[in-house]
Symmetry: C2
Subunit: 305 residues, 2 copies
């Protein structure tokens, strides 16, 4: 693995060396490393690109790293990863995709991650998307995440796209059985002429299940962002979505969160706010000695933290 690939791995998975626990590293469409454990198996799919991650019931405090990196300009792929998580598990899954594109072609990673989370299991899922290059080739990433939660299963999802992705269409879907919960924290920053579209759809099907979708985004330069969410309350359940965006320069942001209550005991709330950085906040930091650019940077970092 060369320096470029090592840097991508660090960016998307925080990896400086081979991770502890189970892992599968995919580099330019090939397996660049894999480890399984007594409780976590990883199997290459035979009918299409991708892997099955099989986590035995009762697996606790283990982690799986499955980073994907693309360093050949113009490489394009469509990958299917399925996660079968048994009952009573407590695991952390770190995915992510990094593209290094120093050519003129379009590099593209489309990934569909499907989670089958067993009863009473807790899953923390972290996903980072990152791109770099000299700016001539286009970097595209279209991640789709589908989450099926059995009774009392809990999924906490953190997704981050801070830099270097020219176009993305991010789709997350969930369906929840009784007592299950899905918590999503999304952070996006776009710059240049980038375009980012985010879509969430959560079906609250089981009694007393709940979801909380929080999206924070910053749009700089001439970039464009669209946020769509749908929360469907089909039973006694609670749903909340929140979408806050900071616009800068000549950027454009649309927020369109939809709530549907199909049951009298569904309780649904959403909030959204779009605006620029408040003038007072900037002035306050500037009186402390920061330049305007530094003050902006500090506010944005705090907002996306």
């Amino acid at each position: 693995m060369d320096k470029i690939e090592k840097n991508l791995l660090e960016q998307v998975a925080g990896l400086h060396e081979v991770p502890a626990g189970a892992y599968n590293i995919r580099s330019n469409g090939k397996m660049a490393g894999r480890n399984t454990t007594a409780h976590i198996d990883i199997v290459t799919k035979e009918d299409k690109q991708g892997i099955d991650i099989i986590i035995k019931p009762g697996t606790k405090k283990e982690s799986v790293h499955i980073p994907v990196i693309l360093s050949e300009s113009g490489y394009q792929e469509m990958v299917y990863n399925d996660f079968y998580i048994g009952e009573d598990c407590d695991v952390t899954i770190i995915a992510g995709c990094g593209i290094h594109n120093c050519g003129v072609d379009t590099s593209k990673h489309d990934g569909i991650h499907t989670f089958y989370i067993g009863k009473n299991s807790n899953v923390r899922y972290i996903e980072k998307h990152y791109g770099e290059g000299d700016g001539n080739g286009t970097n595209i990433m279209n991640p789709m995440t589908v989450v099926h939660c059995e009774e009392n299963a809990h999924m906490e999802m953190e997704t981050t796209q801070i830099k270097g992705i020219d176009s993305t269409n991010r789709i997350t879907k969930g369906d929840l059985k009784a007592g299950a919960s899905l918590e999503v924290h999304e952070k996006i920053m776009t710059h240049g002429k980038q375009y980012a579209r985010t879509e969430f759809e959560v079906d609250l099907n089981g009694e007393n299940c709940s979801t909380n979708v929080i999206s924070r985004s910053v749009a700089r330069d001439d970039s464009k962002q669209e946020f769509f969410s749908k929360i469907n309350g089909n039973t006694a359940c609670a749903g909340h979505s929140e979408c806050d965006a900071i616009i800068m320069d000549r950027s454009c942001v649309t927020a369109s969160p939809q709530l549907t209550a199909n049951h009298i005991d569904a309780s649904l709330i959403h909030e959204a706010a779009i605006g620029k950085i408040a003038g007072e906040q900037l002035i306050k930091l500037m009186t402390l000695g920061l330049t305007e650019a530094e003050a902006e940077q500090q506010i944005i970092s705090g907002f996306l933290k």
Copy 2:
């Protein structure tokens, strides 16, 4: 005018007798009364159904009543009313439609109201929709309101549909120039198998213009409601939308408010909440001696007030 027609007039326009000021009463497609004043002219359209309401510049503290009533079961109409409001006016316009349907046919009123509001003018627009009958014929109302606000024009719109409309598709569109504002308060209650769809779209085009869209609704029985709003901030402007719904019985409510900021100085916010009447509120009123039904009624009245 018979007793049924008089009752409809009272329901939709609060009229017990002929109103003061300008008015035009439309009953089953025919003019049932008209009065113009020195400042307000009402002219029958020649190319299609409807009237032009022309309000001279500088007209202050005057009102126009333009109620529409349908008492013949099965009567259907499409009416175009255009309002030309000069500069520096301060007027109140009371519209509304009442249907009495005691037959088996579908009675239907489609109305398109277009407002051209001159600079520095204030318009208060009140619109009520009401239906009654023995329940065999269907009552349909599809009101569309289009508001063009010149510089510093202000429109305050109150729309109410409490009872008796089986199906409605309510569309309100506005475009605002510099310093203009559009304030909308909508109240809807549906019952039985009724369906109500509401759509707002406001383009904030002029510097420092603003809009505030507030919708409060109650859905009872098996009724269905859909709320859509779009606020487009195209300049330095402020937009707020709020959609609160109480669901009861087996009803279903969707809220889908969209915000788009196309300019760094656009500040846009929305909030929505859907849920049933809080149990504590009911219990509190019941400890004061009200029955459950009375307590519910009191909470709903307060919510829609």
